[in-house]
């Protein structure tokens, strides 16, 4: 897996977006889920956008997870994701609400059932 790097990063974050931090669409939140579409990747895609596509790869990631994987600030990911969305290469989804805690009764019943199976 990715080795953590401890040193000072050589490439500053602003280079990934060319200094832009205001995304063209403002709907992305930290926990918005990004997923790549199956559009072919066009030639000449900026490197950072390409890298984001690669990270999304075969699944979906939240904005903040992509940011951590790419070692970029969230604001940069927002810009990149917004541009990729405009190109139709990425779809975004609003954050998934936190799951409700499971019903203790249900858990208890499941546990009982399991115990019953064991005996």
């Amino acid at each position: 897996m990715t080795a953590r790097r401890t040193g000072r990063p050589l490439v500053p974050a602003y280079l990934s977006t060319g200094g832009v931090a205001t995304p063209r669409r403002g709907s992305l939140e930290r926990l918005s889920v990004l997923a790549a579409t199956d559009q072919p990747v066009p030639q000449g895609l900026p490197a950072a956008q390409h890298a984001l596509l690669d990270v999304l790869g075969d699944g979906s990631l939240t904005v903040v997870e992509s940011a951590a994987l790419l070692r970029l600030p969230v604001s940069a990911i927002r810009v990149l994701a917004a541009e990729l969305t405009d190109r139709g290469l990425v779809t975004s989804r609003p954050p998934v609400p936190a799951a409700e805690p499971p019903d203790p009764d249900l858990l208890k019943r499941v546990a009982d059932g399991l115990r019953a199976l064991k005996h």
Binding site: R4, R8, P12, D38, D58, E65, S75
Partner: protein
Amino acid sequence: MIEIPDLVLGCLAAGTLAAFALGGALLRLRRRGARQAGEIASLTAALDTERRELDLGRAELADARTERARTAAAVAAEVVHLARQRVPAAATASAHPHVKVPGPLGAAIDGTPLGDALDEAQAAVLTAMAQERKRVDAAARAGMRGATRDIQAGLYRLQDVLRGLQRQYDDPELAEVLFALDHENEQSLRRAQVTAVVCGAWVGLAREESHLVEAVTGGQARLVGYHRVKVHHHLEAGTALVSHAVEPVAIIVAELLDNALRHSAPDTDVVVNLERVPHGVAVTVDDYGVGMAADERARAQRMVGGTEPILLSELGDPPRMGLAAIGQLTRRFDLSVDLSSPSPYGGVRAVLLIRNHLLSHIDPAEQPPAAATPRPTRAAVQIPEQRTAHARGAAPAEPAAGARTLTHETGAPVGAAAHAPAGHDAHDGREDAPGAPAPSAGHDADRAGDDLGPAADAGPRQDIDDRDLRDDRDLRDAPAPRDARAAVDAESVSSAPGDASEGDALPQRRRRNRSTDAGGAPSAPAAPARTPEEAAAALGALQAGTAAARSEADTEGSDPR
């Protein structure tokens, strides 16, 4: 008694005698007088001659005196000329070689002891001046070095704060300001660092082994016009610099790019090419500017060669530090920069040669280069080879993603071939992963993973992918694939690496694939894609990575380990 006549006679006789005596004496006297007169005449003549000679000598003496006075005046004039003209001119010429140093006033003086002495005096003045200048310059450099080192350290601290803020606050307006501040800070840092380097200081920052393209991009980011720089990365992925060469290369590239950006029109690009050459790697910087005149070029080449000692007083006002800093770095780190050949575009072509002993290799799968670095062009050309022999080398920027093979949220099948440009991640035996229909179980599990919370996405999904891949292999091994498209993809992808021409050079894994393809069902259980231990290790690493990433996102950048 005596008679009177006798007496008279006697008197007369006496008188006569006396007269005779007197006459004789008179005669003698007269003769002597004549002799003396002759002597006097001769003496007078001699005296006249002497006097004449004396006059002549006096005249000569006066001539000689005026002559001597004239010579003295000439020497004085030469000395004054030396002091007022020749020495100042020579002093100026030591800094500005085009200034002509006048010779002595009289051409006749050349080669005489006086001429030599004057030349020697001039040379001695110059030597003393050079020594003094060196001493003063060294003092100035020491002072600057101390000051810039402190400034540099302060700017690094500022950079840390700014980057911390960038991670912490993602309000777009604030983030944009932070980006701008970070950029300003990088520029100041570059100035301070270059000044320090020119003054003989160390580069001021120890870096770890890094990708070469990161050093180049990092240098690019330090400039005002970094938008105009286009980096073409023609090296194999993972080409890296040893730790002590990283910062020097970044500085040199930044200075070369700065020159290029400064001397070309603002609407033109500056092109950087990273290419492998027999002795190492060449970083070529081309601009479309006006270029340099031959003497400028020669001077620049001398400066970047680092063979001449650098004097601050020769850098001009404002001092042009860039080339001088390059010279210092090339000398200290055994790099070489060439500015001597004109660019084919009419501008300047600068070539930085990084020799093999400064190069190393980083596994790009384990430690991908920064997201903003350009992707290597070579990987795209060499997909079949990269997938297997250089599988890890072929995945430059894919820390977490496997091959883009499987389903997305939509559940649509995605062919691997369609998405396999540069970084088809092929390690762990997944190189033959084809496009596949989304198996319903995987899809549901996918959803379930989402429901658990977005942060849990990466871990479970990866797990599912692996299962899908294995399902998929089973699918292919089965005589009748459920999905025709999957079968087609499987064929096309797995046949590409299976070319006979490359068979010898291939690792074990490839043969296993081929046997899988050829052998069909019976060989499938015998050659699992990975052992359970491997799978466990991979998944463990994946979980650790996800946890690390999540914790980094939560705690804003602190390293969990």
